[in-house]
Symmetry: C2
Subunit: 453 residues, 2 copies
């Protein structure tokens, strides 16, 4: 057993898991490392943030996916360093020797140097970030329900999404529908006209990379729903209470969601490996890190050009590269020549709200309901584990037929989300102002405004 | 509208929610307060801790349950004080006037003055505590999988449950089955003989209050499963690394789950209201707090004797009292005399692992499979919301037929759960000890031990 080559796969995302599966029953000992004990189905992360599915529905314990394999093992630990000379990975808890190493650490948010963004904007890269954003949005509504100051109320009810890529577009649509559905049922005291969902994009189109027709459809669709879309609008600063765009325009808000950039999940110094400007590792067509035989990089972390354009940071690229890197390592072990990686692009798709999407598949463009059905099928098919698929389907169907979201839990509760004392009106019985609750005050106010409108 | 009496219900547990429902469409304005935005189905909390159901399956957003009512409102805030003179509840964010007040704040863990218990034992009263315990148990397994030191391994794999009441018995059974199921599939490197589930009870029987026959059945069943049960064993001290029982006996452990006592969820000074020794509010048979007309207490927080014994702190008492208190307030408003509360005891039931239970129903005793079916039906029926019921049923069925638990997520990840550097063997290639991973070392060790046994 000590004679078998030892392969370490750092990261149990799409790339890492697909590589691990390829090694099953092969003459290697494989160790998969991840800082979490679960794999996250990232393409649906925005739905967790929009309280559309529960976190458990898009997460799957890595051990369960690997439990049938006798030569592929899992370890929950985080890679913290790399000793290239001794072929050792440094983790928090130990050091691990490797013969072959697959780096599949994924990507992190790139704040593009915008002041305050790293400190004050929400991200959508990990399950914990998705849950934190969900909790924050729900807490904004709870706070606004009895907030008598209209300025504070409007600030808490303005949700700014930065970045018009797939994540930004999908989250904007889902958030707008969460709000529409929640409002009707749960917050009768909040005036819908005080709520804003704003999507800011620095380029002059959404979904760059997709055909023009689909970009236009997405824009029209979002605007028809009621999302405010501002193209050619770059964010210059984020604070806890506002976001600054372009030439001095500011929007008061407590919620800035940053989807405008990603970079490779690697430390700045790259563990001694070469880094591309986006924090990614340049790889040969074989997926071997340039200049480092025995070390491979795949998925979002790998930088590889095809037809002079870098491959996109998305799940299908990662899964295909995972399989390819594992096959190349096995070929190398068997003394066979390695194969260059070629991406089979089946298409791109982006959902926009309840039952509309855009899809570019095998060179054809689809929009609306047809595209949404394609999107639904592809995503359900790809969710790992039958049970998760079933759960997600139940959630979606329920949501779809009942216009209700039942995953609206603020959990875990963030003590910082509690309203601070003195922020709301005090309603002592004997005060001159009122003898009733702000509830009633607000209700009357709202009726007046409606009557005036 | 200002003329309608204003009722505040503090707490959206079983008592509070059932009271709120009774006020629907009545000539009162009702405000339900809770520090969370969801209701927790506490009888199944232990299943969250045992990774048997997801947290979302036993939590339900309060606003969704109340959204059909026009005169019952919800506010997420925490009651922090009570101004009896001005009839004002103090919260974190505001002060709220009431004409009638229903205190339904539930109960908290009572550590019975045992040293170290409050600081180092896990609790099972809130959803967040249930999730924290689940994460901790799973992390113990992750850490043990590659831990070469047998003493540390055994300490991490010893799970001590203090208290042989319903929660302790149900959790012990569920935990033992979680471990049995997980071990087979996910942790082939852990020797099952190193794992202990220990149940400590200070009295000389489990489930005091149930018929003797059922107590004996529960004990036999747990012991047959492999749970170590120690009766007449009081805990004297808890530290982060061990628990001390009786006369100096200590068990090395990192996991002590405290289910041995509850007390009313009230501050020590009782907001100026009288308190029973267990931190509960003594109430009249009408459920009015003794000496305070207009203030009612229900559920775990209320202290009421029936036939000289205090009513138990459990869900059926709370729901019945919730309804009764609301009816009494309405009677008072209408000038009718209030009715004394009488508890309709339909029975008690406690599940013990996968498909066994004990049930005492309408004076008859049931054990085993029959009792389990009764238990299952009653709990499914009582779970609020059809969708939640469906989710729980899917989880249970999956679990039941597949012997697998798919909710095994360590989420949110606790950074303290990361193994500290230097705690595990370092396995440099060039060290004298080994050239392989601790994985293999452990595997070989385990084979040896098995061969020796």
């Amino acid at each position: 057993m000590a004679g078998k080559p030892q392969v370490v796969i750092a990261g149990a995302g799409f790339g890492g898991l697909w590589a691990a599966r390829e090694f099953d029953k092969q003459p290697v000992e494989v160790l998969v490392l991840d800082r979490n004990n679960y794999h996250t189905f990232q393409p649906l992360l925005y739905q967790v943030a929009a309280a559309e599915v529960e976190p458990e529905a898009i997460a799957y314990p890595v051990r369960s996916t690997l439990s049938r394999s006798r030569n592929v093992h899992f370890l929950m630990d985080e890679m913290t360093g790399l000793n290239l000379e001794d072929k050792i990975i440094e983790c928090r808890g130990r050091e691990i020797f490797y013969d072959y190493l697959i780096l599949a650490l994924g990507s992190a948010t790139n704040f593009l140097g915008v002041a305050g963004a790293a400190g004050h904007a929400f991200q959508l890269k990990t399950l914990e970030q998705g849950i934190a954003l969900r909790n924050h949005i729900l807490a904004c509504f709870e706070r606004s329900a009895l907030e008598p100051d209209p300025e504070r109320r409007r600030r808490a009810l303005s949700f700014i999404i930065v970045g018009g890529g797939p994540t930004g577009v999908e989250f904007a649509g889902a958030l707008h529908e969460l709000i529409g559905g929640m409002l009707v049922h749960d917050y009768p005291l909040i005036d819908p006209r005080e709520i804003r969902v704003v999507l800011l994009e620095a380029c002059d189109s959404l979904l760059t990379g997709l055909p023009r027709k689909l970009q236009d459809y997405a824009l029209q669709r979002l605007e028809k729903m009621g999302v405010e879309v501002y193209l050619g609008t770059a964010v210059s600063r984020v604070t806890p209470r506002e976001v600054f765009c372009g030439e001095g325009v500011l929007i008061p808000t407590e919620t800035v969601v940053w989807t405008a950039g990603v970079r490779g999940e690697s430390p700045r110094e790259g563990w001694g490996l070469p880094l591309s400007p986006g924090g990614r590792l340049p790889v040969e067509p074989t997926l071997q890190v340039t200049g480092y035989p025995g070390i491979y990089a795949i998925g979002d972390l790998a930088y590889l050009e095809e037809g002079r354009r870098p491959l996109a940071m998305m799940a299908p690229v990662a899964t295909q590269q995972g399989t390819a890197a594992a096959q190349n390592i096995l070929r190398k072990i068997h003394g066979a020549p390695e194969n260059p990686f070629r991406y089979h692009n089946l298409g791109n798709m982006v959902t926009i709200g309840r039952n509309k999407a855009v899809a570019s598949l095998l060179g054809r463009s689809f929009t609306g309901w047809t595209a949404w059905l394609i999107w639904l099928g592809v995503h359900l098919f790809n969710l790992i584990g039958f049970r998760n698929r079933l759960l997600v389907l139940i959630n979606w169907s329920w949501d779809y037929f009942c216009f209700d979201r039942t995953v609206k839990l603020i959990l875990p509760r963030d003590s910082r989300e509690q309203p601070s004392p003195g922020r709301f009106v005090h309603c002592r019985k004997n005060s001159a102002e009122n003898t009733a609750w702000p509830l009633n005050v607000l209700r009357i106010e709202r009726k007046k405004r409606r009557g005036a409108a």
